[in-house]
């Protein structure tokens, strides 16, 4: 019953039948370590940062009150850059991690997308094997472990910095978590932003965020924060009214993850642009 003969006979390898872990990442590490993003042999010289497209700004905020229900909004612009070129105008950087959480990514786009895929699978795998969902803290910790695994590539300039938000079913509220490249996990309150335009987005969020925003108002605040980021950061894409490409905006509430429809976003953008056109400064 050695595994090479198991592979050739078509039967399930022993690693599949071993009782124990509910983690897909742990299973990959044991059975197919080469498929883990962090386990690739990293080159020893120089940085790879200029070779790969880079994804930029993500914003997230909590909203709601006890009466109307709480949740989080997460939004990401649609631009990926490579040096001073625009690598993509319609990359998507905000994803449903599972039914009750969302993850947005900034950093090296290709690796970030792979980490998101792994993270989504990690949560689904646990859910299927255990028959129940991880707690929101558990999900946040699993993401931290995945980001930590990417540290060797981060040191080569291929860093991925996610923003994680979800609805905590135990506490009935939205919560946000930010990360650093070493897998450090930090709970954020009310609002947060990551990526190259985050400085400007955060300034905007600080002025516009209020306690007890409703979902629609929170979506407008998120879109405006991205608008401000795109205004000052060349790597962040603003809403593209010509091609009709809008940011990816999602809400997570007790009802689950829901992506905001493009039509609704077009109206939000129209309103922001109109306000700035009329009363806005030239600066």
């Amino acid at each position: 019953m050695t595994s090479p003969s198991a592979e050739s006979s078509g039967r399930l390898p022993d690693a599949f039948l071993r009782p124990g872990s509910s983690s897909f990442v742990d299973f990959l590490g044991e059975h197919a370590p080469d498929l883990l993003p962090g386990n690739r042999p990293a080159g020893t010289t120089g940085t790879a940062a200029e070779l790969a497209p880079h994804a930029t700004t993500i914003v997230a905020l909590t909203f709601g009150d006890d009466e109307s229900g709480r949740g989080v909004v997460m939004a990401g612009d649609r631009r990926a850059t490579m040096g001073n070129l625009i690598a993509s105008r319609e990359i998507e950087k905000v994803f449903a991690a599972d039914d009750y959480s969302a993850v947005g990514i900034a950093g090296s786009a290709g690796i970030a997308l792979e980490l998101v895929r792994l993270f989504q699978l990690e949560l689904e795998h646990y859910e299927k094997i255990e028959g129940s969902q991880l707690s929101l803290d558990g999900k946040a910790n699993r993401l931290a472990a995945i980001i930590r695994g990417n540290l060797p590539l981060a040191l080569q300039g291929l860093a991925v910095v996610p923003l994680f938000g979800g609805f905590d079913l135990d506490r009935s509220g939205g919560r946000l978590f930010s990360y650093d490249v070493t897998g450090g996990r930090y709970e954020e309150h009310d609002h947060h932003s990551v990526g190259s335009g985050s400085v400007f987005a955060r300034g905007s969020l600080k002025k516009r965020w209020r306690h007890g925003l409703d979902a629609d108002a929170a979506v407008a605040v998120a879109v405006e924060a991205l608008y401000d980021a795109a205004d000052d950061d060349s790597a962040t894409g603003g809403p593209d009214t010509v091609r009709r490409i809008w940011p990816v905006v999602a809400t997570v509430t007790a009802d689950g993850y829901r992506r905001v429809a493009d039509d609704a976003l077009a109206d939000v953008v129209e309103q922001i642009v109109a306000e700035r056109r009329e009363g806005g400064a030239r600066a």
């Binding site: 039967r11 399930l12 599949f16 009782p19 197919a32 498929l35 699978l121 689904e124 795998h125 028959g131």
Partner: protein, 239 residues
């Protein structure tokens, strides 16, 4: 040192098969039925935590009878198989056929080479775009695979229950229809293991049932459990 007695291969296989069949026959049955919008699974199982029916992948589910620790082990292996395959290739490349093959090889190898066969019987089902695309594989303790159409009954008294289902099932039934048939069929087995006549079935309450469906109308993950009031309403037809 004693020489082992010679046992003919026929006798050896027969003994193992009898042993496995006995183990499987002791358990309660699982009924799997195709309906217009998917595939339904039902069994009598008062536990909310120890499942006999589970999700494997987006369009694939698993049902088992026999020894819990053995089929639970196979279920977890199936989830790992499917998730690994979907991660290395694509989600659409995970098929019930591939999984059924891997299970068949595993069951077959254990049956012939290990000291004890696995006392389990499995169904691997995949819901397709239409009822004609649905796939139902039934796997036995010895690794044999049967490609079934429409319905499967596994577990104790499977033969008698299968003929009942055959009489009651037709293509294109709705979910409530197939579930009522499933519950009638499961209720036909008395608590002492004897099979009751037509019309003499036990009532099984919704709380005593484990019911799940693969619903082809659902976007990605087709698997859904039915329980509690929703199930009771569905069975009594007043929703």
């Amino acid at each position: 040192m004693n020489m082992p007695f010679y046992v003919s291969p026929e006798q050896l296989m027969k003994d193992r098969a009898d042993f496995a069949r006995k183990g499987i026959g002791r358990g309660r049955s699982v009924v799997v039925l195709a309906y217009d919008d998917g595939i339904a699974f039902a069994t009598e199982n008062p536990s909310r935590a120890l499942h006999k029916i589970s999700e494997i992948y987006d369009r694939i589910a698993f049902a088992a009878v026999g020894k819990y620790n053995e089929f639970e082990n196979l279920r977890v292996a199936g989830v790992r198989y499917a998730d690994l395959r979907g991660y290395s290739y694509d989600r659409t490349d995970v098929t019930a056929r591939g999984l059924a093959n891997a299970y068949a090889q595993t069951l077959g190898t254990v049956f012939t080479t290990e000291s004890k066969p696995l006392e389990v019987e499995l169904v691997v089902a995949e819901v397709g775009a239409t009822q004609d695309d649905d796939q139902l594989y039934r796997l036995s303790y010895d690794g044999s695979v049967a490609d079934e159409h429409g319905f499967v009954v596994m577990g104790g008294q499977a033969d008698q229950l299968t003929s009942r289902v055959r009489d009651g099932w037709e293509p294109g039934m709705d979910l409530a229809g197939v579930l009522r048939l499933a519950v009638r069929t499961l209720g036909a087995v008395n608590t002492d293991g004897s099979v009751a006549g037509e019309g003499q079935e036990r009532e099984i309450s919704a709380a005593g049932l484990e019911v799940a469906v693969l619903d082809r109308r659902r976007a990605r993950r087709a698997f859904r459990r039915w329980q509690g009031d929703a199930l009771a309403r569905l069975l009594h037809g007043d929703d």
